[in-house]
């Protein structure tokens, strides 16, 4: 119970932040916020000994039990690792933000509410075992990310970035919900654990692959995989603590988490392996290649995040292959999942610190443009050291943790080349090659980032502020992260045993049941010249050469046509297509002319009714039961037809009105002839009043326009009216020709006197049997009368109207 409540602690704490902000002005609100992640990290740390033994903890809080929806906190290796990352880096980011955001200038309560909301949402995502609540928290991360990116909402770019990221991630989230629903239909449960248990049966479903693709779309959009990565560089408009927290360490890893969590279910599928590994590799290469082009510090980091996420994703894809290999525990594929989780931890440490350094540089110099920066090494020695550690780790150099995970990554990719299932014999060889090339570019941009900023000539005149070292408080978090980067290199196996191995068990339950079975020993030096080592040396040599000659070949990027970028595609879809084209399309049929709409309606009705009549073979004419035709009736019909034709084609309106009157009186004569005296009476009276009304209006209404319209349109009009007329006739004929049950009128005829004490059956029906109809018919008349009175009496002058519109 408390375990579930812990997910909600940040969001509950958020409720108090406006109070602290308003009442305790002298203390930075961030100090109050800091308590929350610190508490959470301690709380989750208490689970570590238990979980690292391979046990799991579960707690449940029912929400909608009748639908099987409940808040679940399920802690296994994977979710505990993520929870610790979220709360741990959360604490560091809050600490950093205390020094980064000025309490006198910024709307701090907003910032911390969004941040705490996000923290709850992320904890919910990684701990939820119930797919519906997982989706709920998932969208909450999107929403809070939207709010945080748009934190400086008076800037155009912030709003643009916020909208873009939301459209993409929420779009993916919707897809994911679809996948969840499909899965829950297949497995008849919302619980992921229960679904994992029945994974082999699920794979036989027809919709299995569809669910797979939908869920992957959710994961890819959130984790900024190709081609959905485009929101991440624009999300850099957020305050730097947000970029460090959301867009490098936690939220973008929600997609990674999702893929890892669903690997046991989907690993059986070949599509999964190909999509996850393929898209991951493509993203890895794409991100690293374009990172070198960026001139904004955070832009470089954004592309590098994209690239590193691709790396982790591809490793997860490769780890799914292990499912298809007999005795995979003894093959190298076991490395893949391990390397993915290991790199995930490493990436969170070094990327978090790099973002914070970028923020410090921005804060202390006033710019993030790499072309204006340079030579800050002497002025900001601590920042430089941290940046150097982070970049070298990102580039995969010893003695930093990135080296270890990159080695394992290369091992896993090399093993794919030797694998001969699913056409991997032909394509598998590409895996290590792409991985290697991407690593070269990673090396280049890592060096580009750190050396362009901190070495070279200082351009003081171009900097908006006079640079100096950041305050100590701001440096605490990056220094802690950087020391972790180094520490993990020297004690990798401690991290591996405590965190990585339980997570690997969660990803590959089909291989291991206990963390101790994961017999991987991380070592910086494998005791020999391995292919991975040669590849790393190659990366360093080629990377160094390319970095030295960067100025010469950087023009390559200009060769790419600016129009063919994915951002342009997004702009086209969102602004050009939805805004302009869809508007044009709407205006095409929403003409504003009532006649057009009526034409649509009548045509639609005619097509549907006549179509149904013939598709269902409902048309029938039968003369059985028809009453005989009398001459007087035929004459009456003739009068009616003449009257109607006159009404339609009369040139003057008085003729029209009088002809309409004639039609009305003829109808009342029909009523006489068909034995309906009450109807005849009413019709006669009402027709008289109507004609009188028409004549009253006649004086005020204008004459008919002489030339009403062109002949061509009259033809369409005539066609529609003929179609409706034909429809009515056909329906009337068919209805009359196939009667199935007798009228209930006999009852009324029999009981009208005995029960109701009346002789006029129609009147008794109106006031006795079905008196309610009459009551409300009276109401209709009353309303019409009042409305007419109101329309004539109550008039708003134009002045008042204008006033009201203001």
């Amino acid at each position: 119970m408390f375990q579930v409540l812990c997910i909600f602690i940040p969001i509950l704490a958020a409720l108090f932040m406006p109070f602290f902000y308003k009442k305790v002005r002298s203390i930075h609100t961030g100090w109050f916020v800091l308590i929350v992640p610190l508490f959470l990290v301690t709380f989750y740390a208490t689970f570590v000994p238990l979980i690292s033994k391979g046990e799991t903890e579960i707690a449940q809080l029912d929400w909608i039990p009748s639908l099987g929806i409940s808040f679940v906190s399920y802690l296994d290796g994977l979710s505990l690792l993520f929870s610790l990352l979220i709360s741990g880096i959360g604490a560091l980011v809050v600490l950093y933000s205390i020094y980064y955001l000025d309490r006198t200038v910024e709307q701090l309560h907003n910032f911390y509410i969004y941040l705490l909301m996000f923290m709850s949402a992320m904890l919910g995502v990684v701990q939820s075992d119930n797919m519906i609540t997982l989706y709920l928290f998932w969208e909450l991360t999107s929403i809070s990310s939207f709010l945080l990116i748009g934190y400086w909402f008076n800037r155009d770019k912030s709003r643009f970035g916020a909208l873009k990221s939301t459209l993409i991630t929420v779009g993916g989230g919707m897809m994911m919900l679809g996948g969840f629903v499909l899965l829950s239909i297949m497995g008849e449960t919302f619980s992921i654990r229960e679904l994992i248990e029945q994974a082999p049966q699920l794979a036989t479903n027809d919709t299995f692959v569809i669910a797979l693709i939908l869920i992957l779309l959710g994961a890819f959009t959130k984790s900024a995989q190709f081609p959905f990565y485009i929101w991440l560089p624009d999300a850099m408009e957020a305050p730097t603590p947000v970029s460090a927290y959301l867009h490098s360490a936690t939220m973008v890893k929600a997609g990674i988490y999702l893929v890892a969590r669903f690997t046991p279910i989907f690993a059986l599928s070949e599509v999964w392996v190909w999509l996850v590994a393929g898209i991951g590799l493509l993203t890895l290469f794409w991100g690293s290649f374009f990172a070198v082009k960026q001139t904004d510090l955070k832009g470089i980091l954004a592309f590098s995040t994209v690239s590193q996420l691709g790396l982790i994703m591809s490793l997860l894809g490769v780890s799914a292959i292990a499912y298809h290999v007999n005795g995979a525990q003894d093959t190298v594929f076991k490395y893949a999942a391990f390397a993915a989780i290991f790199h995930l931890i490493n990436h969170a440490t070094f990327k978090g610190s790099l973002f914070m350094i970028a923020g410090i540089v921005d804060h202390e110099t006033g710019t993030r443009d790499i072309r204006k920066l340079g030579g800050l090494m002497g002025l900001m020695p601590i920042s430089f050291t941290v940046a150097l550690i982070g970049s070298f780790s990102m580039a995969g150099l010893p003695p930093f943790n990135g080296f270890l995970s990159k080695e394992m990554f290369l091992t896993a990719m090399l093993s794919v080349a030797q694998f001969d299932l699913f056409n991997f014999t032909t394509w598998g060889v590409l895996f290590p090659i792409i991985a290697w090339v991407a690593s070269v570019f990673t090396f280049i941009y890592s060096f580009y980032f750190v050396f362009r900023t901190f070495t070279g000539k200082i351009k003081l005149e171009e900097l908006p502020k006079k640079p100096h070292e950041a305050p100590m408080g701001m440096l605490i978090s990056p220094v802690i992260l950087a020391s972790l980067v180094v520490a993990i290199f020297f004690i990798p196996n401690l991290i591996a045993d405590t965190f990585v191995k339980p997570a690997v068990v969660a990803i590959q339950p089909f291989l291991y049941t206990n963390p101790e079975q994961v017999d991987i020993h991380v070592a910086a030096w494998h005791g020999g010249i391995t292919p991975e080592l040669l590849m790393t040396i190659g990366i360093i040599i080629l990377g160094a050469i390319l970095f030295m000659t960067l100025a010469k070949w950087q023009k390559v990027y200009e060769a790419f046509p600016a129009k063919l970028t994915l951002n342009n595609l997004y702009d086209f879809i969102v602004y050009e297509f939805s805004d302009k084209w869809m508007n044009r399309f709407s205006k095409l049929y929403m003409t504003g002319s009532i006649r057009g709409y009526l034409t649509y309606m009548f045509t639609g009705i005619a097509i549907i009714v006549i179509g149904t009549l013939f598709i269902k073979d409902g048309f029938k004419v039968s003369f059985i039961g028809a009453s005989p035709i009398r001459l007087s009736q035929v004459l009456l019909i003739l009068v009616l037809v003449i009257g109607t034709v006159t009404t339609v084609f009369a040139k003057s309106r008085i003729t029209s009105i009088i002809a309409l009157g004639a039609v009305g009186y003829t109808v009342s004569l029909f009523f006489v002839m068909f034995n309906a005296p009450d109807l005849a009476l009413t019709q006669l009276v009402i027709e008289t009043i109507s004609v009188a009304l028409f004549l009253l209006a006649f004086y005020h209404l204008p004459k008919f326009q002489k030339v009403e319209e062109r002949t061509r349109f009259r033809f369409g009009r005539a066609f529609v009216s003929i179609a409706v007329g034909v429809m009515v006739t056909l329906v009337a004929l068919s209805a009359h020709s196939q009667k199935y049950i007798e009228s209930i009128a006999q009852y009324y005829k029999d009981t009208v006197y005995t029960l109701a004490g009346g002789g006029n059956i129609v009147n008794v029906i109106l006031v006795d049997y079905r008196g309610f109809d009459t009551l409300f018919e009276i109401t209709v008349l009353a309303i019409a009368g009042m409305a007419i009175y109101g329309m004539i009496k109550l008039r708003m002058s134009r002045k008042e109207k204008n006033y009201e519109n203001k």
Partner: protein, 113 residues
């Protein structure tokens, strides 16, 4: 007779729709008038013309026509009258305010758009 009346009703509907699709507001209202006549006759026809005596109890008569459609039509007549009257006054007011009864010219006002 019912067969012929089916055609008559169809004809009334056709004329009514033709008028409703015109530009002049008065013509549209005349069209709705024709439409309600058509509908009333259709109800009566569908109730069939069986029986030779009006539905008022008379000694020695058993062959009454069906009273239910008549009751329905009576209600319908009154309601359509109420609506027509309202509509007519609305057209009158619209013409007073807007100085036109051409439907194609009644596309929003200056406050709109």
């Amino acid at each position: 007779m019912e067969i012929i009346m089916a055609f008559v009703c169809g004809f009334l509907f056709m004329a009514a729709i033709y008028l409703i699709l015109s530009r002049s507001l008065l013509r549209i209202i005349i069209g709705t008038g024709l439409l309600s006549h058509g509908a009333h006759l259709l109800i009566l026809t569908m109730g069939s013309f069986k029986g030779s005596a009006p539905p008022v109890l008379t000694d020695g008569v058993t062959d009454y026509v069906d009273p239910i459609p008549q009751a329905l039509i009576l209600t319908a007549i009154v309601i359509s009258f109420g609506v027509t009257a309202f509509f007519l006054v609305l057209a009158y007011r619209a013409y007073q305010e807007l100085k036109t009864d051409d439907m194609t010219l009644m596309k929003g006002s200056e406050d709109h758009e």
